[in-house]
Symmetry: C2
Subunit: 154 residues, 2 copies
Amino acid sequence: MASLPVVNQPVHRSGALLDQLARRVRLRSESVLAPLGLRVRHLIALTVLRDRGGCTQQALATTLEIDGTNIVGLLNDLEAENLIARRRSPEDRRRHVVELTDAGAKRLAKAEFALAAVEDEVFAALSDAQREALYGLLQQALGTGDDGCVAAID
Amino acid sequence: MASLPVVNQPVHRSGALLDQLARRVRLRSESVLAPLGLRVRHLIALTVLRDRGGCTQQALATTLEIDGTNIVGLLNDLEAENLIARRRSPEDRRRHVVELTDAGAKRLAKAEFALAAVEDEVFAALSDAQREALYGLLQQALGTGDDGCVAAID
DNA sequence: TAGATGGTTTGTGTTGCATCAATGATTAGC
DNA sequence: GCTAATCATTGATGCAACACAAACCATCTA
């Protein structure tokens, strides 16, 4: 790390490719999610809540890098459909802890089932193993799995 | 393929993670690209043109999955800065072949250099080898490398 | 008790689209 | 040669997903 090896191979930048691929998934996901009453932004929030367990609104906003006032609106959508539940944190009653409801988990599962065709289409050039590798890299890069978005619940 | 092996491990959906990670890169890239007179959407177009060589506007629109009228505006931005050149295709004079100029290639290189810190930050949890693996998977998924967006030039 | 924090509502503005209509130049097919 | 189709262009409209600001209430901290 201290002494960088000078290699002939130029460093590849993944950012633009990431954005492109994400867009391809997103464009196809929208029409699949619409009949389920979901937007991509909803799906992402549900995914985070499922993968990381419950967390405060602020922590969710930080994780998703969305402004706090916009998180309110997003969560209002989800709460209106009973897909999430907000409750006051016992440690600090200013805070809401947000959790996936059973209905939310089911909706998410249904959405993911419906998105199979999307991923099959967009990742057509990748084998199952490569898709799994991609998932692992994305998860690791996002820091998903080891800690919740914030340790929120006792 | 005909008989799916039933495995205990549920299939992971990468779409939401992709979108999240792409957003993280994008949000940080914007302020890095702005002093270079570029937007993320510009960067992506430049990247495609560099990686795939010149192609027609329509092919570029298809590759980026952006509507033809919006591609016109995007390319107008880039052409105004002399980063791309449009010329009539000899095979079909209705078509423009779009190519990166030298100035465009330099601007792109400068942008990618500037984006090093962004990628270091967002991909902090990935090793160099993992970042390279991610790049390879993204490239393969996008179908970059073997064919241009369309074989356009003789 | 005063200041800070978390959430909420409301409003404004920007960006990146999709879509549409109309136009001109060019090509393809009859 | 003529008609219909294609490619690019301009301009307009509308939507979604934000960022940001202001104001407010409830709650916490020092």
